[in-house]
Amino acid sequence: MTDRYDVLVVGAGPAGLAAAHAAASHGARVGLIDEQMTAGGQVWRQDVQHASPALARRSIGRTLDHPAIDWLAQTRVVTVEDGGLLVEDPRRARRLHYQTLVLATGARELLLPFPGWTLPGITGAGGLQALAKQGWPLAGRRVVIAGSGPLLLAAAATAKRHGAHVLGIYEQSSTENIQRFARSLWRWPAKAVQAMGLRAQLAGVPYRCGSVVRRAHGETELHAVDVDGPRGIEHIACDQLAVGYGLLANVELAQSLGCTLQLQGAHAYVDTDRYQRTSVDGIYAAGELCGIGGRDTARIEGAIAGHAAAGKTADADRLLQSRQHARHFADALNQCFALDPRVHALAQPDTLVCRCEDVSLSALDGYMDARSAKLATRCGMGACQGRICGSALAELGRFPRSGQRPPLFPARLSTLAGTNLSSINKP
């Protein structure tokens, strides 16, 4: 089955929702796809126990209810074909064709290896937030939150709302960095209000700066962590550890489409112009995919991309200034939470780096690139296709992540059987 859209949007988080709505407001026929069952992306993920924020409900509602927008849930892109995308949903595979394409594939967490990090009971920070919203049992459980960035506060607040006993938030960045950032918050009043709201929700939860989780203890599941902070090493008994070191863009689809990438530190993002146009004609990108910028940046960039993809750049022009303001906030945030070299030294020679194939850090000694390491050790060859270990190794300064090869995610054989293999095998 083939479907043709004027504008096809990949990803239904804040950027994708805004893009779809903006394009549809000009009369374009829009397709909106997302791999999740419900729209909202990670930041507006639906909570099985609690109501969503009003802004999320409004943004999702007005987009999914729009008569010119087809909402295709649980639909993932398998591979790129000439002029279209091969997608699959739980029932079938099909091709989606488009005049213009808006990529809003968002971000994932930067998850870094340390001794014990594979134990059940350890998740990402955003990972714990996502799982809590899916109904993961947290009531009465002792939770440690660690890593870096504002997501730690949001994850702690969600865990607390779900009845967890949050023992503490351990931020790797220094007290000086955090204080400097807090003093600059007046420039973004809405963010200052948001920060104060989170602070109030987290009353009584210790927030310790300059602290990193050095090691997790347990046999078949987590029992305790060692936190290295300004007061020395603290041994904390806990049931659950949520640890994430910030976010990185999901560039794999954009890369497969040939979009030019740039580096932000060790990680790639998609290069765009003022109208969110990528280097490939007819393909736009918005939100976290264009560099980690947060929800507000994503909403603005999504709208710019949607207007521009529908050929209405004058509407996009009105949003350029607010995008700049939002991006400045993101820059300040990224500076404040830059990773301390201590974080890069957590993994020991015998620490597993590739969790799919159980490859240790020392097994990778002597390899200068991801491809030769993969051929010799299987590192990055598993089901996640190097999304976790490849990004971690890039962050640790070992070697950059290797290019993406189709399929973008493991797919059903019946889906692959219907593909034009000569077209997917092109470089």
């Binding site: 069952m37 594979t118 059940p120």
Partner: protein, 82 residues
């Protein structure tokens, strides 16, 4: 928000979960061991958003499914650690 209760089987045990709950969250009510790694280590849901594949289990006879991406359904048969 009180969604209806769904009953599913996890490794042969009946587990109840609210509609909208993910299979990953339902498994966590029962046990924290989702699967064994290639060298036999216990593993559980990790990224929570379909990226890491640590939570893969067999659902209704189909293997390698990401438990964090699939909502519970009445009568579902989930098998971990295979």
């Amino acid at each position: 928000m009180n969604a209806p209760l769904i009953r599913l089987q996890i490794n042969g045990c009946t587990v109840e979960a609210r509609a909208g709950t993910s299979v990953a969250a339902a498994i966590a009510q029962h046990s924290l061991i989702f699967r064994r790694s290639t060298t036999g280590q216990p593993r559980a849901a990790f990224c929570g958003m379909g990226v890491c594949f640590e939570c893969r289990v067999a659902i209704d006879g189909i293997g390698q499914r990401r438990a964090c991406m699939v909502p519970v359904r009445e009568g579902m048969q989930v098998s971990c650690d295979d």
